[in-house]
């Protein structure tokens, strides 16, 4: 069609921001798009609320997680509900439910961020080695890429939760084991993604032009191909924070989670509440909702980020 259709909802000032500061402009333009996207704002608000609650948990509640605050009886069929002292009542072990929830946020934040950081660090490293080797080329390059990709294939051949389960089983039941297990299960995802976008970038004309100018391939890869390929990986990391938080809870559900009762953890709260459902549904509903809402926040923000970084995907 020869008549230009005006972009629906597109605003010309995005193009203007793209002009200044080469190198940062893509991210800047993305930032300005994010600020105008309601999805991004909702996601950011949820994430921010989650982080703040996690950081200031001790200020929000006078109680300690895991400590029994109730002198009376807490039996499976009688769990004290909300009262003046306890905003949301107690759980079946007599701990303050609100305290457990806010400290649980802390746990989820640490687990989620560290696990994703582990996955991102090792996955990106594998991706760079693989994608870089291909881009630099030659027989050794192809060979290195082949080896790395077969390792990634092996990791991907097992469904990710089972991979995490097996790693957690080896490392024993502690915080590090959980974070490493969840993080390791993410490694192949990041590796594949980064390699893929590096390959796509490596075929683009500007790389060809740089090669024609006689710039060393290694330098092209590190200073041109990599920075231009990192976008989708950052998006994936945001989305993976959601997955990580859910999988931490899943490990708890499978009995491979943090065993220390003094550490509040949403997944374990859910498991403990499972058989007390009729008597006190809030014990399961609240931690479950907390997991889902937090995951929703990261997902919304990640999706918005993806759109902002790839204007073509907008419609």
């Amino acid at each position: 069609m020869s008549a230009p259709l005006p972009p629906a909802g597109g605003s010309p000032d995005v193009l203007v921001t793209a002009d200044d500061a080469p190198g940062v402009s893509l991210w800047r333009a993305a930032g300005s798009r994010l600020r105008r996207n309601p999805t991004a704002i909702v996601g950011a608000v949820i994430v921010l609320a989650f982080v703040v609650v996690a950081l200031v948990a001790p200020l929000l509640t006078p109680y300690q997680p895991g400590s029994a605050e109730w002198s009376g009886d807490v039996t499976p069929t009688s769990v004290p509900g909300p009262s003046d002292d306890h905003l949301l009542g107690l759980d079946r072990f007599g701990s303050d439910l609100f305290t457990q929830l806010v400290y649980g946020a802390r746990q989820s934040l640490v687990y989620g961020v560290v696990a994703t950081a582990i996955g991102l660090a090792f996955g990106a490293a594998l991706g760079i080695v693989s994608g870089g080797a291909i881009a630099v080329g030659g027989r050794p390059g192809v060979w290195i890429d082949n080896v790395v990709m077969r390792v990634v294939d092996i990791m991907l051949s097992v469904p990710s939760l089972l991979l995490a389960v097996s790693i957690a089983a080896v490392l024993g039941q502690n915080s590090y084991a959980i974070m490493i297990a969840i993080g390791a299960a993410q490694v192949p995802i990041f590796a594949r993604l980064l390699r893929g976008s590096m390959l796509a970038q490596g075929r683009s004309d500007y790389v060809l032009a740089a090669e024609a100018l006689g710039i060393r391939k290694r330098k092209i890869v590190m200073s041109h191909v990599l920075p231009n390929s990192i976008g989708p990986t950052v998006v994936q990391a945001t989305l993976n924070l959601a997955t990580a938080i859910i999988e931490v809870a899943a490990l708890s559900f499978l009995g491979l989670g943090q065993p220390d009762p003094a550490v509040a953890e949403w997944g374990r709260m859910l498991v403990a509440a499972q058989d007390r459902f009729e008597a006190a549904p809030q014990l399961a509903l609240l931690p479950g909702a907390a997991i889902a809402i937090t995951a929703l926040g990261f997902t919304l923000f990640g999706e918005a980020l993806r759109e902002a970084l790839d204007p073509r995907s907008r419609r």
């Binding site: 069609m1 020869s2 008549a3 230009p4 259709l5 005006p6 629906a8 909802g9």
Partner: protein, 341 residues
């Protein structure tokens, strides 16, 4: 073919477009007129060209006639009368009965206009099956026949192939076969050769010309290429920035263009009768250098004949001697041919 067709009186136009406007823009936003009060008639068997650069609104006009514009963010007004029925207001069912059978369209890009996962045969036969109410095998037979007529060798085998197995020229022939499959009364061809190699363009154009002549269809040719117009069309409407700026029959338009834009278009194509050594002169600037018609002549920023008047008010479309012109300072006589901008 046994199909009841209402007889058209020879003096009645087949298609009559009246004050057609198409505005783009989502609700609450400032809208933009891609097509602005365009009117023209096509008589049975007549070949009409709408000429203009990209962005002139010519393709949007064609899509509006076919009812193929997206419904969201688009406002269409005016009338598109096909044998007295307004296509803009008739219901979807009636419209889909007309499409492909009475009014058909050949699209611009053969690489993207065919469904990649459906065989050529089915894409040709489905339109036959839909409108001529024939069996699947009859539709297939007719498809083979159509492909042969548009010059595709070994049509029986090609019917079973997929678009990616055909060259661009072959695919465009398939699109022409689809367009003419039910022998429509009106064929709209939207830049049917633009996406092809120059050598293929001529062949495909020849096929189109022959088939249109064979079927007595009226043709609405959308193009930016006056060379295409010269070989194919009787009448020409020149569009600029959504409005018709000049309207004349082919011979008079080529011999004596009146609008500076038409003159510019003519000077930018090679001609057999132009003096040796004369260079082709492109129209300066680009179609994006325009002013809204409300403030004057949209072509004024690029026009060598621009006067103060041109940017003060919009020139009206004035009829005289069977042609129409929207210009305060038209080209005259020799100036229209020789003068450099």
């Amino acid at each position: 073919m046994s199909r009841a067709r209402t007889a058209t009186r020879p003096d009645e136009p087949l298609l009559s477009v009246r004050d057609l406007s198409v505005r783009f823009g989502l609700r609450g936003q400032e809208s933009f007129a891609a097509v602005d009060e365009v009117s023209f008639d096509i008589n049975p068997g007549q070949h009409l060209a709408i000429v203009g650069e990209s962005g002139s609104g010519k393709s949007v006009t064609a899509l509006a006639v076919m009812g193929l514009l997206p419904s969201r963010g688009v406002q269409v007004s005016g009338e598109v009368l096909y044998r007295g029925t307004d296509l803009l207001t008739c219901d979807r069912r009636a419209m889909s009965r007309l499409r492909g059978s009475e009014i058909a369209m050949v699209f611009q890009d053969p690489m993207t206009s065919l469904n990649p996962v459906v065989t050529i045969g089915r894409q040709v036969a489905e339109v036959v099956q839909r409108h001529l109410k024939v069996s699947r095998s009859e539709a297939f037979e007719r498809g083979v026949d159509l492909l042969t007529r548009v010059g595709i060798p070994d049509a029986g085998r090609r019917m079973k192939e997929y678009p990616h197995q055909l060259s661009g020229g072959m695919r465009q022939r398939v699109l022409i076969a689809i367009g003419l499959a039910c022998e429509p009364k009106l064929l709209i061809a939207d830049e049917p050769t633009t996406a092809l190699d120059v050598t293929i363009q001529a062949q495909v154009l020849e096929v189109l010309k022959e088939l249109v002549a064979d079927t007595d269809a009226a043709l609405l040719m959308i193009t930016h290429d006056l060379g295409v117009v010269a070989g194919l069309c009787d009448d020409v409407r020149v569009m600029y920035s959504g409005r018709i700026v000049e309207s004349a029959d082919r011979d008079r338009l080529f011999a004596e263009p009146r609008h500076p834009y038409t003159g510019g278009l003519l000077r930018s194509i090679p001609r057999l009768d132009s003096p040796r050594g004369q260079r082709l002169t492109p129209i300066p600037g680009s179609p994006t250098q325009t002013i809204p018609w409300e403030q004057g002549c949209a072509f004024a920023p690029r026009c060598a004949h621009r006067a103060d008047q041109c940017t003060d008010s919009a020139p009206p479309l004035e009829q005289s001697e069977g042609r129409a012109l929207r210009c305060f300072h038209p080209l005259t006589g020799a100036a229209s041919q020789q003068e450099a901008p």
